[in-house]
């Protein structure tokens, strides 16, 4: 995980009550709820497509991507737009947090008892004084080819 050596700033957000962070240099921007076009038959984590200033961007529901469930009825709506391997992808999260400077903190391995899907996407944790930040690897987060069954539009 050499990528994290130089990174001290994280854009943080909440998904299903968990506190996540993405290195700021891979975050392009953060947007409020966007008009979404659903994509039938897409992998389950794909919520749809949004128009980002003329560019068509896939929006991934991070809650589904991580297989996390909450009592909340409404789906996450905030867009964290990340860059990954030349593509721009939106991660849909429940709530946006602050940008946190973690200088001096060391990235620790992901506790092995976390759910598999979370471990797949999170590549380390940072223990903040008042919370634990799960650091998301955007490249892995946007790779849904392995994760999630095809979404058949809810039926058959």
């Amino acid at each position: 995980m050499s990528t994290t050596v130089a990174t001290h700033q994280y854009c943080t957000f909440w998904v299903a009550g968990l506190h996540f962070g993405v290195a700021v240099d891979s975050v392009q921007e953060v947007l409020r709820s966007q008009t979404m076009t659903p994509v039938p038959r897409a992998p389950e984590a794909v919520r749809g497509l949004i128009n980002l200033r003329g560019q068509i961007v896939t929006a991934l529901d991070l809650r589904r991507r991580l297989d996390l469930h909450t009592d909340a009825d409404e789906s996450p709506e905030m867009n964290v737009i990340v860059r990954s391997r030349g593509e721009v992808v939106s991660l849909l999260v429940d709530r946006i947090g602050d940008v946190i400077d973690t200088s001096g903190l060391e990235l620790q391995p992901v506790p092995s008892n976390l759910p598999v899907m979370v471990r797949e996407v999170v590549h380390g944790v940072l223990t903040l004084p008042d919370a634990i930040l799960l650091v998301v690897d955007p490249d892995r987060a946007v790779d849904v080819s392995a994760a999630g069954e095809p979404n058949n539009g809810g039926t058959s």
């Binding site: 008009t35 076009t37 659903p38 994509v39 039938p40 038959r41 897409a42 992998p43 984590a45 794909v46 749809g48 497509l49 949004i50 128009n51 200033r53 003329g54 560019q55 068509i56 961007v57 896939t58 991934l60 391997r85 593509e87 992808v89 946007v142 849904v144 080819s145 095809p150 979404n151 058949n152 539009g153 809810g154 039926t155 058959s156």
Partner: protein, 751 residues
Amino acid sequence: MVSLMEGGGGVDDDAEIIAEFLVESHENLDQLDRDLVALEQDPGSREKLASIFRTIHTIKGTSGFLGFGHLESLTHVGENLLSRLRDGEMLLDAELTGTLLRMVDTVRDLLAVIERTGADETADAVVVAEVVAALKAALEPATAPSATQPPATQPPAPEPVSAPEPTVTPDQPSVVPLAAAPTPVAPQPVPEPTPVAVPTDAAADPGDDEPGTRSVVDSSVRVDVNLLDNLVQLVGELVLTRNQILQRTDGLGDAELVRAAQRLDLVASELQEGVMQTRMQPIGQVWAKMPRIVRDLAAQLGREVHLEMEGHDTELDRSLLEALKGPLTHLVRNSLDHGIEPPERRIAAGKAAAGRLSLRARHESGQVVVEITDDGAGIDPVRVAETAIARGVITADQAARMEPKELVQLVFRPGFSTAATVTNVSGRGVGMDVVRTNIERIGGSVDLSSQVGLGTTCRVRIPLTLAIIPALVVGEGGERYAIPQANLVELVRLEGEDLRNGVEMLAGSPVLRLRGHLLPLVALTTALGGPSSATDGPLTVVVVQADGSRFGLCIEEVYDTQEIVVKPIGRQLKGLATYAGATIMGDGRVALILDVPGIAATAGIDHVVADEPEPKPVDDDAEALLVLEVAAGRRAALPLRAISRLEEFDPARVERSGNEEVVQYRDGILPLVRLAPAIGLRESELTGDQLSVVVHEADGRRVGIIIDRVLDVVETAVVRSEVGRRTGVLGSAIVQDRVTDLVDLEAVVGR
């Protein structure tokens, strides 16, 4: 569709070709300078050598077409030298680098002359000959390790003529590394009267000679594609913002604001148009150059070629078009050189003396497809395998395991050539390699299919990332989807009676009877993974076709036809066969573009036998019949091919002309014939409030035949019986288990 534009290659065309050649060559030469110097540091880099080789090869090829003899002979020798280097037969040393750099400089000088005069005739032949000699000398002792003083050993007194070299190009920085390397050249700078003519020319150029004309290189600006991409996106965004502003200003009553908004509207529209225009160009631009190239090449190679071109107005993005030019020219060149045989061999093979070369461009499934087809000798997989093994491209073991189809694709490997002899035109093994590299660089693909003795088709596919296509926008489940117009055949709307009669279930799958043919139906909602919903409401069917199969797509709603900009979708969705891409609608929302072949494959109907647009009866006796009801319950049948339309008219619209009943129809007068009395039956009372009319059209004349109603369309072999034969009736037959009168149309409408 077909045009042979032999006469089209006028002066302007030539000038344009030359101008492009110059711009391209100048860019290439700058790169060459850098490559050569870098190569000297790292003489083992085959990659760099291959790149240099391709550049020189390209210049050579083009100069050959354009008739720049000096340039061609120079680059030809240079290419030979590079070829040796590339194949490892010679090693690059400082001296060779110097010689090559001199070649580059001389090429540059020749280009300057061409730019001024349009020909390389006035170029100083001696300088060229001298550089050619130096290159040849470097080639001669290829076996000897030290080719120390090649220019000095040349008979035609190299020393004096070598001098102008630095003088000719006083402003070329590339001369600097040169001075260090070619020791045999530099030390004897004796200016000679002959070469002085060249520098004077060069000196006069920036002066008063042609004050009005800018050089080609200056008059065109190359813009980064990314920059244009950004512009297109920003303009799209601007247009949407404008739409929002226009909506808001409407109700405000602020005249000043409304005026400003209208100006914004105008400017944004024009800007959008302008930006799009800068990008989109018809492929006809490339086609336009082909007749000339083909003619010259055919003459040069002793071939007879008939050129056909289709799809001139297939638009594609400028950058894609640019990138496509080179590879297409190369493929055409290959077809002439390796594909189409000399006339005598063609005649011996039982073909026409003139070969056919056809270039077709079209949009297909969100891609631009360009096909180059010749009816030449084809590619022999066995010969390809032999050559590939001989060249070390693959091992004999590998070849043995390969299918003939795969073997043919070996021609795309670097360092491959099937030509028995290396010609001046193509066939040094760079051709197909370059073609594929260039096409793949723009995200496209190229494949070959060939039949020995019959010809070769090369198919180039380029993604439409930026192309604009017409599409039908339809609605399903509250979302909009675009169906490319290229896949569209027709729209059919069925309700009530027609729906019940037309759609049937065959082993659980819905099919539609459409003019006597069965069309498989696929509900879009099912194709999208939703539940199959059986509704009794009206059914809208989009008849689509792809890859030769045809089917009906049932949709909820039809919106309209639009020009859409095809945009790529993310990696996460690449695996979905259902979509060809996405686009942005006028309101800023994203709509998916349906991939018709993909849907057909997913629905498992990709192997359905294609319906021909003009369906021929399956067996000779079968005929499509329109079965009608006349005279309250009697059945009659008309041949379907004689019917152009079914219409309904309000009885009040029927007027009289003489003794005839007529109705105004499509800006004309349609005479009407009542079928029942015409075939000797009593006419029934009008039951509905509309007259059902079958429009028969023959020899440009239309007649409306009034019937009770249409029962069905059937395709059946008719066994005609003489029973019931009378005026207007040919006889009768059993159709769908019922006795049906066969109407004698000619007799009926001839009355």
